[in-house]
Amino acid sequence: MSKIIKNNTGSNVFLADVGVTIPASGQYVIPPTEYWLWAASSDVVTKIGDSTLTVNDGSVDLTISDGVDLVKGIFQKHRLIGGTDSTIIGNVLDKLKVHDPDVLSAIVNLTTNVFVSNIFKFNEASITSRNETDFTTPYTVASGKNFYLTSFAGSYDAQSAMYVRLKKQTNGSGPFFTIFRLNMMPGGQGDTSPNFPLGNGVLVGTAGDVFKITVESTIAKGTVFAAFTGAEL
């Protein structure tokens, strides 16, 4: 941080107690070896105080108060290096503006792997028909959001084959098509685990897309539970 004294007037300004004349409309860079001399100067404080002089820290012109503090060596504020808006930080409630692509990339990578599922659609019902029927109410991805599927599971208590499908309708119109399907195996409680490696989430939809679960049984018997979870971000 530099200490630059700028003359705001069209006349030379002589500062007797430091022995320096600031040229008209010019400036003087205080050498670090003389910071102590200027810190003890009352003349410079007077001239800064009446706006004859302005202190610049190498980036921007400082207020009277900050300028005097800088000359006296008690200036504690810091600036963003390379910032275009000369934002000063150091006060309560000041915010640091980060515009470093590396930092942004790191944040994106971090949040990508830390999804919190905020969508949970499920149902449990008796099977009364062998036809494919809607099982959950439709879920529509909100405006400006994406939908990351994090789990899809089902459970059936009858000893017969059963399909549980997760279906998608693109942008709220047209036919639904299957994006995941569970095949409940006959002879047991069925499959309660996702058959697909969803990892930390799979991007399956964007704003306006509609998702629902359908079930299709080989017999009209028993009850089925099915659900999907995901993160809407």
Partner: protein, 140 residues
């Protein structure tokens, strides 16, 4: 046996000869870029605030020497207090001299005495990291 008057004359001559002294430590300096009108420092004090007191009873400035980091065009004046300061002598630096120059002053040499308080100032130009000195010859 010498009478008092003769003794006084001899003492005066001795003082004039044996008392002649130089003051090579008479220097001023200042770091950084020094714009026009900048006063040089006595050690750490601006010479316009406190000057360097002349240590001889009566003397004359015989030599001024100037050194700066870069060659340049500027003058150095040696002045005496009080304000408004009285210029005793001024020397001119030009790029052809290079960084350093010793000026041997010619008659009439500026007179100084032990009541004088001297300082140095950059005028008519600017210099960088300048050191200025002078030699005073006189009686103690």
């Amino acid at each position: 046996m010498l009478d008092c008057e003769t003794l006084a004359i001899i003492e005066e001559i001795v003082n004039q000869i044996a008392g002649v002294s130089a003051s090579p430590g008479f220097t001023w300096g200042r770091s950084g870029n020094l714009p026009d009108q900048t006063f040089l420092l006595n050690d750490t004090v601006p010479s316009n605030v406190s000057g360097r007191q002349v240590p001889v009873q009566t003397g004359q400035i015989t030599t001024v020497f100037v050194v700066a980091e870069d060659p340049g065009t500027y003058d150095v004046r040696i002045f005496k207090h009080p304000s408004p300061f009285t210029t005793l002598t001024a020397v001119s630096m030009v790029p052809a001299y290079g960084r350093a120059k010793t000026f041997s002053l010619t008659a009439p040499l500026p007179n100084v005495s032990n009541v004088d308080e001297l300082g140095a100032q950059i005028i008519n130009g600017s210099a960088k990291n300048a050191v200025v000195g002078c030699i005073i010859r006189g009686t103690l």
